[in-house]
Symmetry: C2
Subunit: 178 residues, 2 copies
Amino acid sequence: YPATYGAPPAANDPMWGYFTAIAGQDGEVDSEELQRCLTQAGFTGSYSPFSLDTCRIMIAMLDRDYTGKMGFNEFKDLFTALNSWKQNFMMYDQDRSGTVEPHEMSQAIGAMGYRISPQALNGIVKRYSKNGRIFFDDYVACCVKLRALTENFRRRDTMQQGSVNFQYDDFILCTMAI
Amino acid sequence: YPATYGAPPAANDPMWGYFTAIAGQDGEVDSEELQRCLTQAGFTGSYSPFSLDTCRIMIAMLDRDYTGKMGFNEFKDLFTALNSWKQNFMMYDQDRSGTVEPHEMSQAIGAMGYRISPQALNGIVKRYSKNGRIFFDDYVACCVKLRALTENFRRRDTMQQGSVNFQYDDFILCTMAI
Ligand SMILES: [Ca+2]
Ligand SMILES: [Ca+2]
Ligand SMILES: [Ca+2]
């Protein structure tokens, strides 16, 4: 393909133009830019738009160098994850009330492959509920945090033993940003 | 003191009447009740009211039985903590712009006695900034999380060695609710 020789591989990607428009001059997407983009793209549809806080943890989930911004590949990863969480949520929210039940959220977390005790699941579901139901924004915030914390844990669990020895500073670093 | 014999000790506390009015029928304060109470009491003053998310983590910080609600003693503990964080914030925000600088927040965290590496501090401060400045709501959210995560860590660090061996489920339980 001599015509694209030397061009960045992303330039052929249909999402590239979209990304650069959102990212602006610095070529990366921060939480305000992400919130604007998800709102304008109508991603949340009839559900309430994502809060800035949820957008921040979306970025923190992928932001290994702690800049608070996302490059193109992270941006694509995020969209893939968001789309699957949305499909998941809509499957449970069949009447489009915008909320799912606590037991449905527990089921969903199990179906994503997480092995979490009933006690922990119960704590999680309560934390993300409002009046006993879970809204889309909180559902996504929960999925983002669970994925980010699990990845942070796994990356340190090199022997795959299900346990990690954390130094205080590292524990704070990998939990405070999420 | 025979007159108060048999009465709950809280009944003599000037904050008791206030607490029961907020708590309502179930005798405990949940995040919506807390948000209303802090807003109506004018706690945030000229600063923006606390978001519901910040109120949730305030409760999670003290909620060891994972009910999502606070009893009277937790309620008083929270007010003590909030008052000291507010004084702290106002000391740095001398022009009452409602924000403090990143380096001031780093200083404040150090002054609270936390020993955190520059790298972790930098990550924390970025996470709670908007356009390079920290608003009161985010400042408090950061203080709440830092205290809660540090307490969760310390409670497990029985030998006080600065390191804790976490099982995955316990790691998720003590970080997802915060
Ligand atoms: Ca940008
Ligand atoms: Ca109540
Ligand atoms: Ca409780």
